[in-house]
Symmetry: C2
Subunit: 216 residues, 2 copies
């Protein structure tokens, strides 16, 4: 069977999440870059894949596109159960999903290109004001996560098992670092994220290691 | 066993989603109102329940709070499987979750009180500009959903089975109507939503039927 196509972008944190999940499961995908910094997500060809004009989208041969990073990761977890990315109990799964959503729903959708474009194009915000917006929402999620994670035994958000929550936390932290956000207020979150980002499946999926990324 | 406590607010669409899921499952909860229009989500007492300062939060007796509406609904679906709120196949579940996330991640987090407060308090936007922001993101999600849903056989997003996707769509449409957003461009989405909102488990959960809502 041909490997699925992952429509993504080097800097997209939602694509980063899916890349990590694929790597953790030992799955291959052929990544196709959609340059969301230059509006390629609005090309009719891509909008036919995902009318939300957002990456990632995962296309298995002959099938409709799967969209939304969390839905894609749950799909990969259901179809390729090893290693599991959700805890074994309903309460554990609820907690891991809630931590994931604190990043993927409460923070990340506020800082994606379409929102940054509205802030500059419609509201006329300058770059410092846009950066303050990004930092505010990135830090708000981390402040809430820190309260949840501080004092936990680790090494991961949910204890011994690396889960979807760690994928969302680590990719969020990596993004915050790329943006130059000060993370010293969030030591527990940072420790978990750095532990994850040091793993090969995370490191290989990092934005700066993708095609199109600026040279370091 | 004592019924769980649902921390919510009459106008919260995320609480509305959980109320619908509880009703569909035939489950009772004692709702406690957190007045997010007046900052009650920042009371230390509530922040101990949910450090994200957001409703809903569901507390089962003697247990930690469950937060994030989608995580709560998946938990209810796992612990009370009838009627199921997700399709039987991994692809079906991925699609239903993606449609749900188009509302619950891509649109709703952009229009909640904490964001509206930033728009007015930090960015100094007046009410028309704030309302234009809300309408823009509400309609952006509906435009994408409409492309996905137009031409489907119905009666629900995923066909014969009412799912999490319908809960998210119908509550989003109900919220858009309360805000006075024009929905004529989205006939397929509107038809599904109105069909759902006419059902008793949705109607009984509607914001305007909750304690604290303005008299109609």
């Amino acid at each position: 069977m041909t490997a699925p196509v992952l429509y993504g972008f080097w800097r997209s944190l939602a694509t980063f999440r899916v890349r990590v999940a694929l790597n953790l499961k030992g799955l291959e995908a052929r990544e196709t870059s959609i340059d969301i910094f230059n509006g390629a997500q609005y090309d009719p060809e891509f909008m036919a894949v995902n009318p939300m004009s957002a990456v990632p989208a995962l296309v298995e041969e002959g099938q409709a596109a799967l969209t939304q990073s969390l839905a894609i990761i749950e799909y990969l977890d259901e179809t390729h159960p090893a290693p599991p990315l959700l805890p074994p109990t309903p309460r554990g799964r609820a907690e891991a999903r809630a931590l994931a959503l604190m990043v993927a729903a409460d923070a990340h959708p506020l800082v994606v290109p379409r929102v940054r474009n509205y802030l500059s194009g419609v509201l006329g915000l300058d770059e410092p004001a846009r950066n303050a917006w990004i930092a505010h929402w990135s830090r708000a999620a981390l402040a809430a996560l820190e309260q949840r994670l501080a004092g936990r035994p680790g090494p991961w958000c949910m204890g011994e098992q690396l889960t979807l929550a760690d994928i969302c936390l680590a990719t969020h932290v990596a993004g915050a670092k790329l943006t130059g956000i000060d993370l010293t207020d969030f030591p527990a979150s940072l420790a978990i994220a750095e532990r994850a980002l040091a793993l090969e499946p995370f490191a290989r999926a990092h934005p700066l290691r993708q095609a199109g990324a600026p040279a370091r």
